[in-house]
């Protein structure tokens, strides 16, 4: 067998906008249709797959470089949220905007021990989000916090198998093995620049404090917090979409009890 690559649990699905299935070919969709999409972006080796893996499998394991992309379907209350894990490698960069199209939230991931990984977000990845929803939420996530922050070090610092490119560390003393190259303030400043890039008003957008996370996929530090905060933030977007999609077609697959549709004309 060739080219085995790590793919998280993958479910296939049809499009986020429900369409009339006048199938000429069998409909491949599973019963679950994602209601909303989350995309994880970031340079290679920042730990995107590990983050998703930590959240979904509750453990940290060595991953190999993601090929293309993968996605995971998360049941959140009555909704299905698809989380796309993208490949960070330059080679797959072109696919990014395809993944981001229609995304309700984008998780921009960098490595706290690697300044360049944050810079790459701005240089390369931010433009990919142009295809995301206009009300897309951005989260800036500094992963590998366990390497610099003792608070994130819940677990014993055992085997060091992280694929970190060791930066020339000039840290004088102290337990952290790596110098923290990206401070939270840097991430927050980047968040403000994203808002400016998107021509969004800082006053009406989500505040930088609540959208910048420092996580560790290795110890699980802040990982649940990150995903669950975002899930709750994208719920309004699901509701909005549901209320807009009152298509004239009766969807026989639709079995959700609470169907929010606009009231008829005569009410």
């Amino acid at each position: 067998m060739k080219g085995k690559f790590d793919i998280d649990v993958v479910a296939d699905s049809t499009i986020t906008k429900r369409r009339v299935q006048r199938a000429t070919m069998p409909d491949y969709a599973k019963m679950k249709k994602p209601d909303v999409k989350l995309v994880i972006l970031g340079d290679m080796n920042v730990g995107k797959t590990s983050l998703l893996h930590r959240y979904t499998e509750r453990k940290f394991k060595d991953t190999i470089s993601t090929v293309g992309g993968a996605f995971f379907l998360k049941q959140w209350g009555p909704y299905n949220i698809s989380i796309w894990d993208t490949a960070g490698r330059e080679q797959f960069h072109g696919l990014g905007s395809l993944y981001c199209r229609g995304a309700a939230a984008v998780i921009l991931t960098y490595d706290v021990t690697n300044w360049q990984s944050l810079a790459e977000l701005e240089d390369r990845f931010l433009s990919l989000t142009d295809t995301a929803n206009s009300d897309c939420i951005f989260a800036i996530v500094g992963n590998k916090a366990d390497l610099t922050d003792p608070r994130a070090l819940v677990e014993e610092e055992g085997e060091e198998e992280k694929e970190v490119v060791p930066q020339l560390s000039s840290s004088p003393t102290g337990p952290p093995k790596f110098r923290k190259q990206v401070l939270r303030e840097d991430a927050m400043a980047f968040y403000s620049r994203i808002l400016r890039y998107k021509l969004l008003d800082e006053a009406t957008s989500l505040p930088a404090e609540s959208m910048c996370f420092e996580t560790s996929a290795k110890t699980g530090y802040n990982v649940d917090l990150l995903f669950e905060t975002l899930f709750n933030m994208v719920l309004p977007s699901i509701l909005k979409k549901e209320s807009q999609s009152c298509s004239p077609t009766v969807d026989l697959e639709e079995c959700r009890e609470v169907k929010r549709t606009k009231a008829g004309c005569c009410t």
């Binding site: 080219g3 793919i7 499009i15 199938a23 070919m25 994602p34 293309g68 992309g69 072109g94 199209r101």
Partner: protein, 864 residues
């Protein structure tokens, strides 16, 4: 890794096509039903009939029969072939020209009309927008730069419908509805030719590598992406499936649900669209063309044609299950849901779920196993039957065939690992418990409950008793030996009892209590048996075991009788008389039973009361006769006796009195005399013999309780008389007399007392008595004066009323009407209502009847 999803079967061998002509290569193929068309580079189109057959070995084989081959006469390769079966036409691209030929004879139709020139490539719209079935829509890449054209192809002509320009030169096209999916030189894009809207997909260098654009379903395309990826994209420009990972050298791709098949230089790879994983790899050299035609995947090298025959889904799933790849098998099965009739799918799906459950069960993944058993609606006996001896021998169950799993039984599964066995059993317990509460157990409750019982008994599980005490369907015949084997005699008794065999249950329990059998389940089994007997409706049994119970412990044993509910035992053998008769051997039990009857149930029967009193007395006497007599017990026993003697009025006083003669039980004798109204004797005993003055005083109060004032006074005077008995003078009695008078001043007739008292007593001594008596007399006088005054006043008021009502004369004449009936008076008799209104007597009576609550305020006075 692999599932065997496809089998490579040769369809057309080299010698049928080009023989030994080395230069001739296959350029394109088309398959339509059984018809296979092959275009070659020497401008020939070959037409074969492809027959499927099964070889004697059970393998599928194809037999190709050449129907025709025809040269198109252009000396150029045939680039593309597409069949339009409804039109019976074959659309051929050769030498940049699309021509339409007859499907059967391959002759060109109407030379001029059906021809498109300057074509680089074309595709057929499989989701046509035109409703005409006799028309095929073509998307055509023109050799003219940056143009895509849409044509309608009819039987004998073609018609240009639309021409759209593209930003770059297109090199591959696919059409679905109005959506063109195009590979341009540097990127893929979606173009809606109706609206002109376009959507960039992702960059791709078409010069470097041949792009692949493949429609896989409604508005969804599969595209070759950089890095050897197969990307899925919808017409909206969204990817809904994770990409599949091909090799960099991929040449072609085809879809055969649920698989994506790809061809590269050395292999055919099969990925699942459901989980994007690589499922199968087939080695195939010199691969040239890979295409799917109506679900049939056809593969060609330059010289020969093969068919990739999908293996039956069920077989694939079974292969996966055999490899313990549960999740993949389930994904595959669920992915096929829509391609299989619903009922057939459900049967298959259930079976797969059950198999999956057993695989996980074998791996001790109980949580997952349970979930799959539940979803697969597993016959719970399938699981039970894995455990040796758990199913009742009478069970009609046989395992499903073909088997759902590979295990002979639990021992086979555990391979001697006792920990595994233990965990499996624990799982079964929890599973059966849940099954009992759902309808899963319907139809096999006996098997389930019996199995559960056996597991509980074996594991010494506390729920065994709960199971047996509640509603259950445990089979007695099968469970009894098992319970005996595990020394669960108490539980076995419960089971007998549940099955209505109380006698067997009792026999067993008695043996356990007696120590003949060992079962430590209940340390209070004896009490339990007694309790059981006290409720047992079968009286024969009660009598049978009462003897045993009483011999064991009278105090507890008697509860058999005392705890019985009253209602049902009065009539039959369980009446008090026969019980007492029965109990006569057991004195303590008799006493307790009588106490129960007399003191608790308050049965008013002379015989019982007398019996109890005699027993009490005997006990006291018995205790007294011991030396030294236990003071505490004597006191208690006497207290009980005295209480009964005082409170009961039913016993035969004379009998007891006779028994008490010549004993020291003076207090009791006094009480008995009191019962006989022989107060002088009683008081004499108390005062003279016992010299217990408080007791004497208490006696007076007791004997006069619930009697009138007069009786009480008589008793007190009697006591005073005894105290002051001149025949037996004594200082202490004098003091007692003074105390008595002073304490109960109100109970005496003061005048009479004064006459009785000796002259020499000082006034001071009797001051409390005298002032009390005086105050009492004064109070009585004043009270009666007040009463008199009130009576007079009332009398006066009544007189006033009477005079008022008499009032003046009441006039009655023949002209005057009655106020009630408005008729005139014909007779002088009338009733006068308050206020002097005369009415007929019968009207007044009527009114009084009609308003019973409103009684006539005063007696109506008749007037004549």
């Amino acid at each position: 890794m692999s599932v065997k999803a496809f089998e490579l079967v040769p369809a057309v061998e080299r010698d049928l096509l080009m023989g030994d002509k080395a230069r001739i290569n296959i350029e394109c193929i088309e398959c339509c039903g059984k018809h296979l068309y092959v275009g070659t580079n020497d401008c020939f189109v070959h037409h074969f009939l492809l027959e499927e057959r099964t070889t004697p070995k059970g393998k599928l084989a194809f037999c190709a029969q050449k129907l025709l081959h025809k040269c198109l006469g252009l000396k150029k390769p045939v680039n593309e072939l597409k069949a339009a079966s409804a039109l019976e036409r074959l659309i051929v691209l050769c030498d940049s020209t699309v021509t339409v030929v007859d499907m059967v004879n391959l002759e060109a139709v109407s030379s001029g009309g059906a021809r498109i020139k300057g074509v680089a490539s074309f595709c057929v719209n499989e989701n046509p927008v035109n409703g005409d079935p006799f028309c095929v829509e073509l998307g055509v890449i023109a050799t003219k730069r940056r143009t895509v054209q849409i044509y309608m192809v009819y039987e004998d002509r073609v018609q240009l419908v639309k021409e759209v320009s593209t930003p770059e030169q297109p090199c591959a096209v696919c059409l679905d509805g109005y959506f063109l999916c195009l590979a341009l030189s540097t990127q893929y894009m979606i173009l809606n030719y109706n609206t002109g809207a376009s959507q960039d997909l992702f960059p791709y260098d078409s010069e470097e590598k041949k792009p692949i654009v493949k429609r896989i379903g409604r508005e969804e395309f599969l595209l070759a992406a950089p890095g050897g990826l197969g990307m899925f994209a919808t017409a909206d420009g969204v990817s809904q499936r994770a990409p599949v990972n091909w090799s960099e050298s991929v040449i072609g791709a085809a879809v055969c649900f649920p698989y994506v098949v790809a061809l590269d230089e050395g292999f055919v790879t099969v990925h699942s669209m459901l989980d994007q994983q690589l499922k199968q790899t087939l080695s195939f050299r010199d691969g040239h063309i890979l295409q799917d035609f109506e679900g049939k995947v056809v593969l060609a090298s330059t010289k020969a044609v093969y068919v990739l025959v999908p293996l039956p889904l069920e077989r694939q799933i079974q292969d996966l299950l055999a490899g313990h790849r549960v999740e993949e098998a389930l994904t595959l099965a669920e992915g096929a849901r829509r391609n299989i009739p619903k009922d057939k799918f459900q049967i298959m799906h259930r079976r797969i779920l059950q198999q999956a459950g057993f695989i996980q069960f074998g791996q001790l993944q109980f949580l997952e196993a349970k979930e799959h058993f539940r979803k697969g609606q597993l016959d719970v006996r399938e699981l039970i039957s894995l455990y040796p001896l758990l199913l009742p021998s009478s069970s009609s169950f046989t395992r499903c065939h073909p088997p759902l799993h590979e295990f002979a039984d639990l021992n086979h599964l555990a391979q001697g690992d006792q920990e595994k066995v233990r965990r499996c059993k624990l799982f079964l317990v929890s599973y059966l418990r849940e099954a009992r509460s759902t309808e899963v157990a319907n139809g096999c409750r006996e098997d389930v409950d019996t199995a559960l019982l056996k597991l509980y008994a074996e594991a010494d599980h506390e729920s065994l008793l709960d199971l047996l005490a509640s509603e259950n369907a445990c089979l007695l015949a099968d469970s009894a030996p098992w319970l005996e084997k595990h020394h669960k005699y108490f539980a076995l008794g419960l089971l007998y009892r549940y099955n209505g065999q109380d006698d067997a249950a009792l026999q067993l329990w008695v043996k356990v209590v007696n120590g003949d059998l060992q079962d430590s389940t209940r340390s209070d089994l004896y009490e339990y048996v007694v309790d059981f007997l006290s409720f047992c409706p079968n009286l024969d049994l009660v009598w049978k075991y009462a003897e045993w119970a009483l011999q064991k412990d009278q105090k507890v044993g008697v509860q058999i009788f005392t705890r019985r509910t009253v209602s049902d035992d009065q009539a039959g053998q369980m009446n008090p008389d026969s019980i007492i008769k029965y109990l006569h051997k057991y004195q303590q039990a008799t006493l307790l039973y009588l106490e129960h009857l007399v003191l608790e149930r308050r049965v008013q029967k002379e015989k019982l009361h007398t019996h109890l009193a005699v027993l009490y007395l005997d006990r006291v006497l018995g205790l007294l006769s011991q030396s030294p007599s236990p003071a505490q017990e004597v006191a208690e026993a006497r207290e009980q006796l005295q209480k009964l003697l005082k409170e009961s009025n039913l016993y035969r006083v004379q009998l007891l009195l006779g028994k008490l003669q010549d004993t020291e039980l003076l207090l009791e004798r006094a009480t008995l005399h009191g019962k006989l109204e022989e107060h002088d004797k009683a008081l004499h005993i108390l005062v003279h013999q016992l010299k217990d003055f408080p007791a004497a005083e208490g006696y007076c109060l007791w004997a006069s309780a619930s009697r009138d004032e007069e009786h009480r006074r008589r008793l007190f005077h009697l006591l005073l008389g005894v105290y002051l008995d001149p025949d037996a003078p004594g200082d202490e009695r004098t003091v007692a007399a003074v105390d008595l008078l002073n304490r109960h001043a109100g109970a005496f007739d003061a005048a009479q007392v004064l006459r009785l008292l000796p002259e020499g007593w000082s006034l001071q001594l009797l001051r409390p008595f005298l002032s009390g008596a005086l105050r009492g007399a004064m109070h009585a006088r004043r009270t009666s004066q007040v009463a008199l005054g009130l009576a007079r006043a009332e009398n006066l008021l009544l007189k006033h009323d009477r005079l008022k009502y008499r009032g003046g004369p009441v006039f009655v004449s023949e002209k005057k009407g009655c106020q009630l009936c408005h008729n005139t008076f014909t007779e002088p008799d009338c009733v006068c209502l308050p206020g002097g209104v005369p009415v007929h007597t019968h009207c007044a009576a009527q009114r009084a009847r009609d308003s019973p609550r409103k009684r006539p305020s005063a007696n109506p006075s008749n007037h004549t």
